[in-house]
Amino acid sequence: MSTTAAAFTGLVVLGLAGALPVVVGVGLRWVTLPLAPLAGAVLASLAATAYVALGLSFMTWFVALAVLGAVAAGAWWLWGPTLGLGRTDGKLGVSEGDLEETVRHPRDHRVALAGAVGALIVGVTCVASLRGIRTPTVGFDARALWVMRPGWFLQSHQQLLVDLKVRGLVLTQSAYPPLVSAASAIAWKVTGVHTARLGVVVTAALNGCALAVAAFAVADVGRRAAIGLSGRRAAIGLSGRRAAIGLSGRRAAHAASAPTPWTPLVAGVVVAALLVLVAAGVTEPFLTNGYADPIWSLAAVGAVAWGLQSPRERSAQSIAVVLVLVAGGAKDEGFVTAVAIIALIAVRSLAGVVADHGWRAPLSRLAAPVGLAGLELVIIGWWPELMQVIGARGASSTFTIQSDLTSRTTAVVHGMSPYLHVLVLAVPVAIAGGVVLSGVRRRTDTGNDLWAWAALACGLVAVAGALITGQGAIGPWILSTVHRITEFPTLAAWWIVGTWGVVAATALVEGNHRVESTSGEATPVGDAPAVAQAKVSA
């Protein structure tokens, strides 16, 4: 079997494993397509962790977890709180979640066309950005670690433990999170092709998926802006659910008052495609040589975009869950950054619940974001904790208080600065946008970009902190890693810039007549009475 066919097969297997949970959580949207293999990679990562912890075999765990995920997704779909059988009022039919989706994503031919064309453009741009894969490069760390460990996961349990612990293998990075290696191991196992090259191609394909998902978030800003401008957003933010239930689905879906404008739709797609090209430039050559840095960086950027910049609705939050699990399961730096993003998403959700319901909000609504965050932390924290427990090579903490903190800090600042030039653009754009265009941004249902800046700062501090307090010689360490470990903050800044670009394009065509609720939310005239209590989400 050729490497291309084997990589495609591996990706299909990963996609099938992750498909049902993603479809139930996200719905049938364009973003579902690249997200499913990433969810499958998360399952592979969990399977690797379970194999190390409990034995049996890697593939047994992968199949079991895939089945478990599908059954859980099916059960949630049938009996969960957002769909018919699980509705608290006992009524079958259109659920609150479905209605919300209907109102937010109405069947508009312009929106549908832009969605299809946008998905095609972003997809083609992503594939074109992976053209470096034609060069058969296998990176140093890739050959020594990321696409070498798949073989370990296919060995016996006893041998796997030896591989992870024996000091004679020298390389201390063996304890790094397993997602990239585990995804490659799935491809190796199902195709019988055990080559580093296959691991590199599978990893590059997953990078492309993460890049596409992150780019779709920006296109989605344009889509929401267009719907908002046309009046089809009908009336409700997340906090207006009760008001929405009061409307019939048909009335909500057909509450159009103006044709959908093309400008935000086109702006969203164009910016998303440009961001794909920008991201490829930032992450190459590591995008296509088997390193784990791009996948955690891109997934973290996507998690910020969907979890902290999109409306607090089920679909966006489900995407963010998959992406933080990818970021947290791919590399140590990704783990630290994912922890920060999980915390930020939970805080934002709690703030939203309090804004919607006040401090006397139902306990279940307050507990849900905390519980979800806790579950995510347990999942991504399982591997590093396990490495400590089994005494894996390189699992001990390198944290120490260095006597030369000042000089190390200076070296880190000087080392990182050349890779963070985008901040010179992003900061003034964000300030200008925040002062003048924040109203437009709110009306596109896009979250405050301070959330994105907080995530960027957390990622930057985490990496810089590791360098400053680590034990390695700072000069060579920075020289050999800085361009990779600054990928997340660089990309996050570009996504902030791109989002403001879409908001600015929206502002240029925003209609003059609109009815605003007391909170400043733009709503269509026809539905104004039904939505007077609507608030600005996020």
């Binding site: 430039g281 754009v429 605003e516």
Partner: protein, 166 residues
């Protein structure tokens, strides 16, 4: 309480005139557009550099070198044999890990190994991986050491392949 936004497009509940919003939006859109197009163009050039002749040649040489090490090691280690990698030279250990780490059955403790793998560099003639050969040392049942040289693959030239980017 509902209110109708003024027809001049004012924002932030009327505090900012519509013209200011439009001007700032136009400036932001233009700056972001120019920056994104410029950086996207640069990004595309970076991607294209991965297809440069020298990059392709180095990558092919790197792959051939480690494929050669892999095949030679396979010629020396039977399935199920426990292996240890000689730690006398750190660079050689890392080369062996990169070439064989995914499939060898690593012995623990090292003294229980059936085969000790090491590299011998600076070799000339055919049958070497760019001047390097894999060497296996094992013990016979009567305690004698047997040294064998890997076979089955060769890469012409001398010296390790150029290091790929770190």
């Amino acid at each position: 309480m509902l209110r109708v936004a003024p027809p001049d497009g004012s924002d932030r509940r009327g505090r900012l005139p519509g013209l200011a919003v439009t001007v700032v939006a136009a400036v932001v859109a233009a700056v972001v557009g120019v920056a994104l197009v410029g950086q996207a163009s640069r990004g595309s050039a970076v991607v294209d550099r991965q297809s440069a002749t020298s990059t392709v040649r180095n990558a092919s040489l790197d792959n051939a070198f480690y494929r050669c090490i892999d095949i030679q090691a396979h010629s020396l280690v039977r399935p199920g044999q426990r292996v240890t990698l000689s730690t006398s030279n750190l660079a050689d250990v890392i080369t062996l890990i990169k070439g064989t780490g995914s499939w060898v059955t690593v012995a623990d403790p090292a003294r229980s190994a059936d085969v000790v793998l090491t590299l011998r560099n600076g070799q000339t003639g055919p049958g070497t991986c760019s001047g390097t050969v894999v060497v296996a040392t094992s013990k016979t049942p009567d305690g004698r050491s047997v040294v064998r040289i890997g076979t089955g693959a060769e890469v012409p030239g001398q010296g390790p392949p150029p290091a790929p980017p770190l």
